[in-house]
């Protein structure tokens, strides 16, 4: 199991969770991003994610390293999917195993928050009447 992965294939949430289990872990926190059927009250038909893949992997690896320097993480896996996704599909899964639960919640939230700020991945929302690159414009 790659610890950090940007892939155009569906993510295997169960395998990701399984892969962070360890005998010295007491808590696993998992964040699963899912494609929502609406944004700001407007119906979304589908999403498309595009990545600058080698740099995205590099940035994700940096985020994981920073998280590990801030919290006592036993194992962590971050996978991000690219391509077209329908409502309910999963663009991102983050799983963090820690000895105690507080650190797991904090580290997992740090990873998804920072991912959204720094990782070169772009999301396009498709509506009935058009399409928009998210966050591109003020």
């Amino acid at each position: 199991m790659e610890l950090v992965l940007v892939t155009n294939k569906p993510l295997d949430t169960q395998a990701i969770i399984k892969s962070v289990e360890s005998p010295d872990g007491g808590a696993v926190n998992v964040f699963i991003g899912t494609v929502r059927n609406a944004t700001k009250g407007k119906a979304v038909l589908k999403l498309e994610f595009e990545a600058y893949e080698p740099m995205a992997t590099k940035e994700l690896t940096k985020i994981v390293k920073r998280a590990k320097s801030k919290w006592p993480i036993l194992k962590v896996v971050v996978h991000h999917r690219t391509g077209v996704m329908q409502i309910g599909e999963v663009p991102v899964v983050i799983a963090v195993a820690t000895a105690h639960r507080g650190a797991g919640f904090e580290a997992c939230q740090f990873i998804i928050d920072t991912l959204k700020e720094t990782v070169p991945i772009w999301k396009k929302e498709f509506f009935k009447d058009g399409e928009v690159w998210v966050a591109a414009h003020p």
Binding site: G33, E50, Y52, L115, V119, W122, W133, H137
Partner: protein, 78 residues
């Protein structure tokens, strides 16, 4: 000559995924200026960053023809 990789909205604005520039562009800052002047729609974006060899680069950084250079419009992963 430098080669620029384009993604997302900047790829759509420029209309192609790779751009080759023969203009005298020495730094990251100059590249940003050139792109914003040449493609006014890029100027309208929330932000524009440049990655050199897969790392975010400061405006002063020098560019060479062997660098892998990419335009990074506002990211929205997750």
């Amino acid at each position: 000559m430098i080669t620029i990789k384009l993604f997302g909205i900047t790829r759509e604005i420029v209309g192609q995924p790779i751009l080759e520039l023969a203009e005298p562009i020495d730094t990251v800052g100059q590249l940003k200026d050139f792109m914003m002047i040449t493609y006014p729609k890029i100027k309208a974006l929330n932000s524009l960053l440049i990655a050199v060899n897969s790392e975010y680069a400061q405006d002063e950084q020098l560019l060479t023809s062997t660098d892998e250079i990419a335009l990074i419009p506002p990211v929205s992963g997750g």
